[in-house]
């Protein structure tokens, strides 16, 4: 950036960092990152939302911190520094979850800790924060976290609705419809298995690609 004039905080370019990862540059369905946790935590909507927020916080602040440090860290040891920053943030998030939403934190089990190894976090720090100013980096991190969360929530929506008949813990499909109660309906048990999450992610990619022709591979 050669121009030294001050940019407005929410300029069009900065907003693009924030909203780009929602669709055209989505970390899960375009860059295919962070799939493993997307399969693991999406059985129900509530843990998925908590996970999405946690990852958003971690990506946002790790980008911010690394961008602030980017001129002081020798590039040979930058991975170590990144890991320390990310791990510290993840432990913070983990402690907060344990303190305020203990049951969800138990459901998420190791996957909160595994945010450290989530490829999206490291990927954004490496690819963006090390070469950009703090504010755009922060927006980019938040945007990627939310883009990841968006997919998580969509997958969890279908898995919880079709697999358990509930949404966010509230019953959507009436009990009286079930075969056990003399009805005709039965939950799709396959939705509770991780493979089905992969298939739903596949469907999202399918729909997304057919709407964005420029992403289609020849």
């Amino acid at each position: 950036m050669s121009k030294q004039e001050k940019e407005p905080m929410f300029s069009a370019k900065n907003m693009k960092y924030l909203t780009g990862p929602f669709s055209a540059n989505n970390p899960v369905i375009v860059q295919i990152l962070g799939i493993c946790s997307a399969l693991a935590v999406t059985v129900q909507l509530k843990p998925a939302i908590v996970m999405a927020l946690s990852v958003t916080v971690v990506t946002g602040f790790s980008n911010l911190v690394m961008s602030l440090l980017r001129n002081g860290v020798p590039s040979r040891i930058r991975i170590i520094v990144q890991l320390v920053v990310i791990a510290a943030l993840v432990i913070l998030v983990d402690q907060v979850l344990k303190a305020f939403v203990y049951d969800v934190s138990k459901q998420l089990s190791v996957y909160v800790g595994l945010i450290i190894t989530n490829c999206i976090v490291m990927g954004r720090v490496e690819a963006f924060a090390l070469g950009n100013k703090p504010w755009p980096s922060f927006l980019d991190g938040i945007g990627n976290g939310l883009g990841y969360g968006l997919i998580l929530v969509i997958v969890a929506f279908f898995r919880e609705l079709l697999g358990s008949g509930t949404l966010y813990g509230f019953r959507i499909i009436p009990e009286s419809w079930y075969i056990a109660n003399g009805g005709f309906y039965s939950n799709c048990g396959l939705m509770l298995f991780p493979p089905m999450a992969l298939i739903i992610v596949g469907c999202i990619i399918w729909v997304h690609r057919s709407r964005n022709k420029d992403l289609q591979e020849k």
Binding site: I179, F184, S186, C188, G189, L190, M191, F193, I199, G202, W206
Partner: protein, 375 residues
């Protein structure tokens, strides 16, 4: 027919329905375009005739399935089963499942063909009949519809349609139904029509399949002859080994299915069965495995699927043998899955290309050595 054809060709006023029209035309008549060049064996057959042969081969098992559905139903009600009454009852029971399977599957198939501008492929003629035959009688129709839709879209169309699929679509449908709606696909009550309601059932009547009995107690309450002829509870088309063997004879006589696969599946199952008998894991004769459950049905109609099975002759022996062996292994060792045939065929579907690859590679290196020796 020829008169209305122009309306459906490109530019005609109904041009967008070209695929649909083409499907019906070639279904009813011999296609106008036949293979004239390339390394194809020229023959009066096209894929539609091949598929029809398979459908014909399925008929004995299907007819027996009708009869057995009624027979088991009347038996469970304590009414002496009469032949025609049983046949008619089973027909009324099974027909809706077949209609749903065909309507959903063909609907999706036609929609995809239209969207992509392909011809409609006729692979579903067989799959659409196979799906009802491997379902329990009492399954709700909407589950059949959902399983069929899943199988056609994710088992077939995402790979590029008929001929490109890695897995046998009918088995994908059954696997989907099995894992998604386990209570409706296993247990003691689903195999006989009317048993889930529990009304008017004779006291002490058990609907457990022969396989489930063998798995839990090591014996079955049916004679081996009954199991061979098919007078046992089970999925609609799988019970009668005799009817399946008639179908197998038709397939082999017309050369549609590979005898290599069939024979080696049976050999694999027997070998594994005898092994388990020898080490004392099972107490019943090993050949029971071949006549109960879906073993024979899978071996004859599923494992021989020309698309998903191995392509090389050696590969067919290997894949077939492993399919049979794996099926018995799952049956005996894993109590959660009394029927191992479905999983073992799907698993070997996934491995078949790998086996083919090594068979071809081995052949190449063998011939290279021969060239070196000659020099």
């Amino acid at each position: 027919m020829d008169k209305i054809k122009p309306a459906f060709s490109k530019g005609g006023k109904l041009g967008f329905l070209e695929s649909t029209f083409d499907a019906f035309e070639t279904f009813l008549f011999v296609p106008n375009t036949t293979t004239t060049r390339g390394a194809h064996i020229r023959d009066a057959n096209d894929m539609k005739r091949t598929m029809i042969v398979v459908v014909v081969a399925l008929l004995p098992a299907l007819l027996f399935g009708f009869y057995n559905t009624g027979y088991q139903h009347f038996l469970s009600q304590g009414v002496p089963p009469e032949f025609w009454a049983s046949l008619w009852f089973g027909f009324l029971k099974v027909l809706p499942i077949i209609v749903v399977s065909y309507a959903v599957g063909l609907g999706i198939e036609f929609a995809f063909a239209q969207m992509r501008g392909h011809e409609v492929n006729e692979g579903f003629l067989v799959s659409g009949l196979l799906i009802p035959m491997i379902m329990p009688v009492d399954i709700p129709l909407w589950m059949v519809a959902l399983a069929t839709a899943f199988a056609v879209v994710f088992g077939k169309e995402v790979f590029g349609g008929t001929g490109m699929n890695v897995f046998n679509p009918a088995l994908v449908a059954r696997a989907f139904a099995f894992f998604a709606y386990t209570p409706m696909m296993s247990g003691e009550t689903v195999w006989i029509a009317g048993l889930t309601d529990g009304t008017g059932v004779v006291d002490g009547f058990s609907g457990a399949t022969a396989l489930e009995q063998l798995g839990t107690t090591g014996t079955m309450s049916y004679s081996a002859l009954d199991a061979f002829l098919g007078f046992i509870p089970g999925s609609i088309g799988e019970t009668s080994t005799l009817a399946i063997l008639i179908g197998a004879a038709i397939l082999l006589f017309t050369g549609v299915a590979s005898w290599r696969t069939m024979v080696s599946v049976f050999a694999g199952g027997l070998a594994m069965g005898y092994l388990f008998e020898a080490i004392g894991l099972t107490t019943y004769p090993a050949w029971y495995h071949l006549i109960v459950g879906g073993f024979a049905f899978g071996a004859v109609f599923m494992a021989t699927d020309p698309v998903t099975s191995a392509q090389t002759d050696k590969g067919k022996y290997i894949v077939g043998f492993l399919t049979g062996a794996l099926a018995v292994l799952i049956r005996v060792v894993n109590p959660a899955y009394p029927e191992g045939m479905m999983l073992s065929i799907l698993f070997m579907n996934a491995l078949a290309p790998l086996v083919d690859y090594y068979v071809v590679e081995a052949n190449i290196s063998r011939r290279k050595k021969r060239v070196k020796l000659a020099k």
